[in-house]
């Protein structure tokens, strides 16, 4: 990934112009802005990163050698890795913009996926967030990234935790079901343990990777998990069966503990958000 180019020159020019102008723009709400200020940070501007990839499912195995009666679950490792790497690339480019702005972190990071009608298999991944900084503090090797909003950042810091990175866990598997299962399920109501098992394995692969990424960043935990399981049926070329491709995506904000604060006394509040 290190060989991948950074943000385009036009983006860097925009960021430098923003830095030198002494003003900033962001999509923060007023409540979030107040919350960020209350814990000693100040916003420095909107930052983005994007990458367009050609992504297609590949490596679906032949079911010819599958033992009858046994479901065949194969990981689509290259496909899963591509889905992960492209998100990481978009995030890295966004982080580069934050560094250009002399920032320590990015909050409210959102990852979006967009497909194009005219270009099959071309998918654009975009990361966008608000860069924040603490005046006078030494620069970090890499800014912290958080999918949480400004209000949550303030609450988290007061609870003695700080976001460190966006942890991503993605896995995709192909499951071939032998017709034994299909026939049984045509006769009676059955729990399809073959499909449940495949769902469990793709999930555990993805969650394991999420956890590993968080650990690699020296985090103590992950909050605000966003999980998504995509399932689509694919025809099996040899048998008259329904095969499935399963894709599990998990994104969470990894947090590191820097303090164990004493529980504060409850106090009446006027909420700044409309939840």
């Amino acid at each position: 990934m290190s060989a991948a180019p950074g943000p385009p020159e036009s983006a860097l020019r925009r960021v430098r112009r923003q830095r030198d102008s002494g003003t900033w723009n962001s999509d923060l709400s007023v409540g979030e802005l107040a919350a960020i200020h209350s814990v000693g940070f100040a916003p420095a501007g909107q930052v983005t990163g994007s990458a367009v990839y050609r992504i297609a499912v590949q490596g679906i195995p032949s079911c010819g050698t599958a033992p009858r009666g046994q479901p065949l679950v194969t990981e689509l490792a290259a496909y899963g890795r591509a889905l992960h790497d492209v998100r990481r690339l978009a995030l890295d480019r966004m982080a580069r913009e934050a560094i250009e702005l002399g920032c320590h972190g990015v909050v409210g990071v959102r990852l979006t996926v967009r497909r194009f009608d005219h270009a099959m298999n071309a998918v654009e991944f975009t990361a966008i967030g608000t860069a924040i900084r603490r005046a006078g503090a030494a620069a970090l090797p890499a800014p912290f990234l958080s999918a949480l909003d400004g209000a949550d950042l303030a609450k988290l810091l007061r609870a003695g935790m700080v976001p460190c990175r966006l942890a991503i866990g993605i896995a995709a598997v192909h499951v071939h079901t032998t017709n034994l299962w299909e026939e049984t399920s045509r006769r009676a109501d059955v729990a399809r343990t073959d499909l449940s098992g495949a769902a469990a394995s793709v999930r555990s692969l993805a969650m394991g990777r999420l956890s590993e990424e968080a650990r690699g960043a020296g985090a103590d935990g992950c909050v605000g998990s966003r999980l998504h399981l995509d399932v689509w049926p694919v025809p099996c070329g040899i048998h008259r069966d329904r095969d499935h491709v399963l894709q599990f995506t998990a994104v969470a904000t990894a947090v590191a503990r820097f303090d164990t604060p004493a529980p504060p006394a409850p106090e009446p509040v006027v909420s700044l958000d409309d939840r």
Binding site: H104, A137, F144, L157, V162, D189, R192, L195, V223
Partner: protein, 286 residues
Amino acid sequence: MSGRDSADLAVRALRRLAAPISPRRAPFTCDLSVDELVLVERAGLEPVKLVMGTCVVSVLRRPISRTGELRHATNAIYRARRLAVEDLRREAAGVGAHGVVGVRVEVDEERWGEDLHEFVALGTAVRSRTGSLRTGGAPFTSHLSGQGVHALLAAGYRPLSLVMGAAVWGVSRWDSAAWLSARRRRRVEYPEMTREIATARELAIRRMGVEARAVRAAGVVGMTIEQRSHTWGGDAMEFVALGTAIRSGDVRPSGPRPRAVVSLDAASPRAAEIRVDVEPLRRLDN
């Protein structure tokens, strides 16, 4: 919090990030918001792992010839939910958790293909720091949020398990046509339909009650009734009653006493609402 304290907060947080120490334990994962995380920790629990359970079940289409319970569908759907929750509980027990909070069961009827229903149970496995919730047996399950669990423990109760009751009711095409046509002759209510739906709902609640008694619960909190429509060879309605069975805790209630508050910011529900529609003034000469 004074300005100086909060300024220190940012500096101390950045210092932690500048010198990353590798934690001894694997990082926890959770399905909690920041608010929930803070409250769960304050209640003496620590999140361990986001746990899930899946059950995909195929429910056959059988023609609905008479109105009444579809026993096969009730059994299949109830069993699938139960299996998904048991799967989740097993994963929680595997990581040494004492309970699972915020358990929810999501249903998908489309993505796997025809006749296949997927039930996914997910929640956050937690460990009790004080040991007050250690039961020695299986971890508890609760559908209450982090806020709910905090309030429950503060009130001196402890969660036991998620309890459920299901009833799938089939309405034959002939019956529904007869009922609906009767409307022209009689009153506005469809009395047969009222009766069938009420019976099905009562049955789901009663079955949930049986589960609660089986775990010797003092009561069930946060009960909800989900209602869903299916078409399995006719019209079918699924009723699922769901709640958390609770019992008085061994520990005395701790933390702040509950107080009644008048909120200044949130809209409070009103029994009656008066809406005034203002029509634009019309000029007389128009």
